[in-house]
């Protein structure tokens, strides 16, 4: 029997391991399917990571190295090239690698830190052939930054997620022509700074309320037909425009990778795609915790590390039996706030609630209501779906509360 098994050696897994270790749990094993620690940070060679944690701008590999060094320094066991096949509700992890074959680890606690994957073309239902030259933005990023290949010369990007924006700049600097970034929504899914420094710096047009309706080309992509969409996101035929290109990058969202969680009968939130958790990031299965992008998709790795620390400390406390008496307060959201993490509170202590809006709202008040009374309120100039928000609640708001209701009030 091991103390703590962590699935995934990216920023969430490493940070969770370190904080559990520092809390007093020394018997920790990290299972990672890639050949190195660091997860997706390894291919994110651009900078902008670590402003919150380290007060400086780091590149992805630099940010990852700081945590990997600590994991090594502590002598935490890391199993690389190891694919986890199954996690069961009795906290047995089944995994495989070349050295050990198929093996099982029974642990007192498990932290899920598997991250997320990109939505693929199959999820988009675009008409046309299936030529080569269509990549997810992250695949293109891996080819350029890790393998040294350029996926193409003339590029259209569908979706304005941050990875797509970053790749627009990267491929432009490497000599490609990025003709347009099409975003079906009337606002961008990426950070304002990335629109500025990745698109505006290079005069790459961002076409809001636009999508790709047709793919042209048999062997290799020859071009795409783009169109403006109406308020119901329906393409308008009179706006069809053919754009010649040999490459289409898709940056159309990320999906938490929860196949293993399903196997352990962990309750998932339909909106986040991740587990339903309490303030400790404990899932519906006692002793199994989740953190990072497997729980909900974050914009900043700094917040992933922060969340993983919460899970790491809580998992350590669980193993050492430092549990307190549990209460049950559920957190509900109005439609304007799409979701919150955590979704429930089981312990009356100060807690930070993360949430994301469903649209762009200007001049709002974030209200938290309990039994019809406003127990917390905060004004905000602007809220967009592309940027995660958070509020800090004091322990006393949970007094006499069964349900906390999070709402956005639009001010005139």
């Amino acid at each position: 029997m091991r103390d703590l098994a962590i699935i995934g050696g990216g920023p969430a897994g490493m940070s969770a391991a370190i904080s559990a270790y520092e809390r007093g749990i020394k018997d920790v094993v990290i299972l990672e399917r890639d050949e190195h620690l660091g997860g997706i940070l390894q291919q994110c060679i651009h900078n902008g990571f670590g402003l919150h944690r380290f007060n400086e701008e780091l590149t992805g590999p630099e940010y990852a190295e700081r945590y990997a060094k600590k994991v090594m320094e502590y002598g935490i066991e890391v199993k690389l090239n190891t694919m986890v096949l199954d996690v069961s509700a009795d906290k047995t992890v089944t995994a495989t690698n070349e050295e050990d074959g198929i093996f099982s680890i029974k642990a007192k606690a498990i932290i899920l830190a598997m991250g997320c994957r990109e939505r693929s073309k199959g999820a988009l239902n675009i008409a046309g052939y299936r030529p080569s030259g269509i990549y997810s933005a992250g695949t293109a990023q891996k080819l350029v930054n890790m393998k040294g290949y350029m996926p193409g010369k003339n590029v259209v990007i569908l979706g304005s997620g941050d990875i797509g924006l970053i790749m627009a700049r990267r491929m432009t600097l490497e000599g490609a022509k990025v003709k347009a970034v099409c975003e079906i929504m009337p606002y961008s899914g990426g950070l304002a700074r990335n629109i500025e420094q990745c698109l505006n710096d290079f005069d790459i047009p961002l076409k809001l309320s636009h999508t790709v309706v047709k793919i042209d080309g048999k062997g290799r992509l020859c071009g795409v037909t783009i169109a403006q969409v109406d308020e119901n996101r329906k393409p308008m035929p009179e706006t069809y425009e053919y754009v010649e290109c040999d490459t289409l990058l898709l940056s159309v969202g990320l999906i938490p990778e929860n196949e293993l969680s399903k196997g352990a009968d962990i309750s998932l939130d339909k909106i986040t795609g991740g587990a339903v958790v309490d303030q400790n990031r404990e899932t519906s299965v006692e002793g199994i915790f989740a953190c990072g992008n497997v729980l909900h998709v974050h914009d900043l790795v700094d917040f992933v590390s922060e969340e993983a620390e919460i899970a790491g400390v809580a998992a350590a406390d669980y193993i050492m039996n430092n549990n307190v008496e549990k209460t049950a307060v559920s957190i509900e959201t109005d439609g304007k706030i799409r979701y919150s993490v955590p979704q429930k509170i089981t312990e009356k202590k100060d807690v930070k609630i993360y949430f994301r809006a469903s649209g762009v709202f200007n001049n709002v008040r974030i209200n938290v209501k309990s039994n019809g009374n406003v127990v917390f309120s905060k004004k905000k100039q602007k809220i967009t779906p592309g940027e995660m928000e958070s509020i800090k609640l004091k322990a006393d708001v949970f007094n006499d509360a069964k349900t906390l209701y999070l709402e956005l009030e639009e001010l005139l």
Binding site: I45, H46, T59, E65, N145, E196
Partner: protein
């Protein structure tokens, strides 16, 4: 003349309003912090950017690198061209200088490689 800038210093992305008399800056507002003011100043006089890229190593594997300070914005393409001519030695450690004085900045490794 008034220029509205989107600050790129952090993920908040403040909209900064800069009042310009001819080329002289007369007022800066909307910045959430001191870095934003510095950015607005630089953006209206001598815009600069950090560049991140990869160099090929003798092993044939790309190594991620960055400029250790921002370079003039209009030099970004030339900077990447210079970076692409470099063949780096291994082993290399994060922070090692790969090329010196490229438009006033050093190109440094952002990754360690055996």
């Amino acid at each position: 003349m008034t220029r509205i800038l989107t600050c790129i210093c952090c993920p908040i992305g403040c909209n900064i309003k800069v009042e310009l008399d001819e080329r002289r800056i007369s007022a800066i507002s909307g910045n959430g912090c001191a870095r934003g003011k510095e950015y607005a100043n630089s953006e209206c006089t001598n815009p600069v950017r950090n560049v991140t890229s990869t160099v090929i190593t003798k092993k044939g594997i790309p190594l991620s690198v960055k400029t250790d300070r921002p370079i003039p914005k209009e030099r970004m393409f030339e900077c990447v061209k210079i970076i692409n001519k470099i063949v780096a030695e291994t082993p290399v450690k994060t922070g090692d200088i790969i090329a010196e004085n490229v438009f006033g900045s050093n190109i440094v490794a952002t990754k360690s490689m055996d």
